[in-house]
Amino acid sequence: MAIIEQHREEVAIQGGDLPQILLPTNCPGCGIGLAGDELRANNYVCVNCGHHFRLGADVWIPLIADPDSWQERWTDVRSHDLLNWIVPKRYQETVETLLEEGLNESVRTGTCTLAGVPIWLAAFDFGFVGGTLSIVAGERLARGMEQAALTGVPYVLVSASGGARMQEGVLALMQLAKVNAAVGKLHAAGVPYFSILTDPTFGGTAASLALLGDINIAEPGAAIGFTGPRVIKQATYADLPPGFQSAEFQLAHGQVDMVVPRNELRPLLAHLLELYP
């Protein structure tokens, strides 16, 4: 029997220890009034309907990493306004405001352990310009993957992203190539790469590293796709069916290996780390 079966309780997420997040008063899934502590204890999954609330990197990191194991890397790599982007808002101002609010770019990365196994972890932060893939994000991702490939340490990604960052122009687009080449390094080294797709994962992030995992794991109800539904409707005038681009839709269309509720995610990852020693 896999070791994980004996230790399922130990590796389960300790929701009560997670940071608090800003919540609406009612669940967007079922409308029930939300009790913050109860929701947090359930890993920010609605106890009534199972709606998975979006989480920032500050929550994803303690959710995946063993306590006190997280060592963040390259936090001082910074974005700059390369294109003199001024409308509707100065890009430099956007970035500086978010940094002051305590967010550090759209991707944070580092090493930690999961059920005692060393891993590389990268988490997108949707709160930072929509989790858009930027030069800093690409640089942090590529460096982490290169390190993981060199040292044989499994790589875990949590994505939540609108795609490439418009305000960094074609250099943001080039990050798709940069990170995909680095995924190729993981593949060549035989290092397992587990990609967790959360709500929402679109555009250049879906069309690069997020769907290239050795195993792609989606959260229930997460919207995942290339072109967003608003742009599809503008471009084709098509009516999109309910559930279009949901995690379950992507499972049915062969794009992800499984749809896994958040409460089962950590035991699953621990099990996978056993299966890919």
Partner: protein
């Protein structure tokens, strides 16, 4: 010329399209079809021909001129099957040691429900990743529109060049306006901020060369435009033919890994290496 005038020129229906160039570069060109899985994507042409005395694989986004042709070519917007066809042919070229020329001219991958259902995101992702493993020389040229991941899916190469009046962008101006303003009518403002003209793209270090177009743009003289493109492509291809596969792949990796190094080198710009 304003930025928007360049965008319109890059998209102009009188502009030479991929087949106009390919047939001039390799008059014996033979088109090959299909992804060997389910379909043939007419928005991407591929095939072989003799170019500078050597069998070469040509790939290119193909647009149409008449309404009927445009519909048939889907405005040069590829479906997942197109990226799978491109990779199928790239592996074919690798098997026989043929160099690859890729011509880029697309507003982007097709933004429709069918493309989503058949995995357009994963098709582009896989293409971008696998181009790094194709052990033959690849030179890409943006000949019109280089739009978004749909273009980059055909644009991972050892050298990338751009025609003078072409554009290369993270998203089409319309899509960028839709994303930033939620209003695609603000496309002109978006185009001005995106820095998508050839002069701006080469300044960012994303392409190796901007190829001059004939007086009055490439539309004015297809033969002259094809002649200068041929000369530039060959000038970039020649030194690549001398490299071993492992040298090629290492340089291709480094080209994209450090593509933002121009801004990294500038102390006030970009990521700082620690």
């Amino acid at each position: 010329m304003s930025v928007w005038e360049i965008v319109e020129l890059a998209r102009h229906q009188d502009r030479p399209y991929s087949l106009d160039y390919i047939r001039r570069l390799a008059p014996d060109f033979i088109e090959l079809h299909g992804d060997r899985l389910s379909a043939d994507d007419p928005a991407l042409v591929g095939g072989i021909g003799t170019w500078h005395d050597r069998t070469t694989l040509f790939l290119g986004h193909q647009k149409g001129r008449s309404l009927k042709e445009r519909v048939a070519r889907n405005w040069g917007m590829m479906h997942p099957e197109g990226y799978r066809k491109a990779l199928r042919l790239a592996h074919h070229a690798a098997r026989f040691g043929f160099p690859i020329v890729s011509l880029i001219d697309t507003p982007g991958a097709y933004p429709g429900a069918g493309a989503e259902e058949r995995g357009i995101a994963a098709a582009i992702a896989t293409a971008i990743m696998e181009w790094f493993e194709i052990p033959v020389p690849i030179v890409a040229a943006v000949i019109g529109e280089g739009g978004s991941g749909g273009a980059l899916g055909m644009g991972v190469a050892d050298r990338v060049i751009m025609l003078e009046n072409s554009i290369y962008s993270v998203a089409s101006p319309e899509a960028a306006a839709s994303i930033v303003w939620r209003d695609n009518s603000r496309k002109v403002e978006a185009a001005e901020q995106l820095q998508l003209t050839s002069r701006e793209i080469i300044a960012m270090g994303v392409v190796e060369e901007v190829v001059a177009e004939p007086q009055g743009s490439a539309s004015a003289d297809y033969d002259a435009a094809a002649g200068t493109l041929d000369e530039a492509l060959w000038r970039h291809m020649q030194p690549l033919l001398e490299q071993t596969p492992s040298q090629l792949l290492q340089h291709r990796y480094d080209r994209f890994r450090y593509i933002d190094s121009l801004i990294q080198a500038e102390p006030h710009f970009g990521p700082k290496i620690d």
